[in-house]
Amino acid sequence: MNLQGKVFQGKSWGYLGAIVFLLALWQYAAWSLQTPLLPTPQAAIAATIRLLEADLGKHFWVSTYRVVLSTLTAFLIGLPLGIIMGYEDRIDRFLAPLVYITYPIPKIVFLPLILLFLGLGDGSKIFLITFIVFFQILVTTRDAVRKVQSETISSLRSLGGNRFQVYRYVLLPASLPDVFTSLRLSMGTAIAVLFFAESFATTEGLGYFIMDSWSRAAPDEMFAGIIMMALLGVGLFIVVDFFDNIFCRWQHLNGYKEGK
């Protein structure tokens, strides 16, 4: 088997171990607590399978669509802007105060305004997640670019590289590892915000599904929703890791060596 295959196999065992561990913990808690609020894993999994045949799948895809689209938008705006702010001092001097003032404000307080202008549909939810995740990506990227040594830039310049090529061949690849880290962190934030945004004024999405099951006092269905949310998170992490391994291969060389 080739190296990547072996690494992949190693990772799969890791996931399997984690799942078994969590299920055992859950089972133990359900047995010892003996409360209808915490169903056993079997009941929850049975409910998941049953509900997937109904409309749980639809809720899952709606949530996936919202998180992916908003994170992608935040990434596509935050990455270039962060790189530019990190390199062009003049732009940074102008934009940094703006970012510092708006970053700490909990964006959720704008929700009434967002709902007013974007309505109750997908737009407002996607905007809210994008808005929050954008700042994380922007600030991380800018700081990553600032860490780039001036010698590295001089080295490209000495080869005849122009300003655009400094971005393309130095600043972008140098900041990518940190950008992937911020993407992973953003995934957690994005899903938390998603849950919040879906928990009212909508009838679609995992957030709605979980809250609705709760109000109907159907804990096994609620846990089916939680399982799907966990799957959504894991799926997104795997996707980010996948791209990280492709675009930042130079960062993962030790990992490959250990895999031998």
């Binding site: 010698e151 590295t152 001089s154 080295s155 490209l156 310049r157 000495s158 080869l159 005849g160 590289g161 090529q165 061949y169 130095v170 690849p173 140098a174 990518l176 930042c248 291969r249 130079w250 060389l253």
Partner: protein
């Protein structure tokens, strides 16, 4: 070939200013191999930055083959201190980057890159990343990348420091070969007196101070002669360079 006339250079360090060069003059002929040696912080790297066009003199003029240096120049290759390789590119990508940046068509640079990789003995590691190479291999990558640009002027900032003694001697031999074979003009910075005398057709001993001064200029006509390292003349030149450096140190403490 190179004419540095009446150059001043000042670094701004916060509010204070560091005058590294004041009315500095230097002429380098085509095909010379200049070695700059001097204590740390005396301005050797700064001089290379000026010659490469990455830094502009605060006053004065630098001309190469009659043209004023304004920004980087097509036929100047510069190997920065600590190699200046890009950790995210493989050996092959690093070597071809200069040509890519210059919009050379891939079809036409591929063979040149391959030839350089073979010549520098990097065939086995061409898909490795810099972090997977030894110091000597990294240095050869930097050299290969510089040479693919087919330069007429090669600037090197302490290219062989941080190598073990034998690797270092082998690469010194390689540098000498390249210089003789390609009729390049080279300017090399080193802290090693032996290396200076082995590689330099002319050695400039710099002394720090604000501004930097040239305290000695040694012509070294026998450079490149086989077995030079073992000769009496070699020994005399190294002692002389050493005495200049030491005398500089004395002057320093007397001030």
């Amino acid at each position: 070939m190179i004419e540095v006339s009446h150059c001043d250079f000042i670094y701004n360090q916060g509010k204070s200013q560091v005058k590294v060069y004041d009315d500095f003059n230097l002429t380098i002929e085509q095909g010379e191999s200049i070695v700059l040696i001097g204590p740390s912080g005396c301005g050797k790297s700064t001089l290379l930055y000026l010659l490469s066009g990455l830094q502009k003199p605060t006053a004065g003029k630098i001309q190469i083959l009659g043209d004023s240096v304004k920004g980087t120049r097509q036929k100047t290759a510069f190997i920065l201190q600590e190699y200046g390789l890009f950790p995210w590119l493989t050996v092959e990508q690093n070597v071809s980057l200069g040509l890519r940046v210059r919009h050379t068509v891939k079809r036409s640079y591929k063979p040149l890159v391959e030839e350089m990789i073979q010549k520098m003995g990097l065939g086995e590691v061409k898909h490795n990343f810099p972090s997977q190479l030894s110091g000597g291999q990294r240095q050869r990558v930097a050299l290969a990348r510089a040479l693919t640009l087919q330069p007429d002027l090669l600037l090197m900032d302490e290219p062989l420091s941080a190598l073990d003694a034998l690797t270092r001697e082998r690469l010194q031999g390689l540098l000498l070969e390249i210089w003789q074979e390609q009729k390049l003009t080279t300017v090399l910075v080193t802290h090693s007196i032996e290396e200076a005398v082995f590689l330099g057709s002319r050695i400039l001993v710099l002394l720090d101070g604000r501004p930097t001064k040239v305290v000695g200029e040694i012509t070294n006509p026998l450079v490149g002669k086989s077995g030079y390292r073992q000769t009496e003349e070699f020994f005399q030149k190294t002692s002389y360079v050493r005495s200049l450096l030491e005398r500089g140190g004395l002057d320093e403490s007397a001030r």
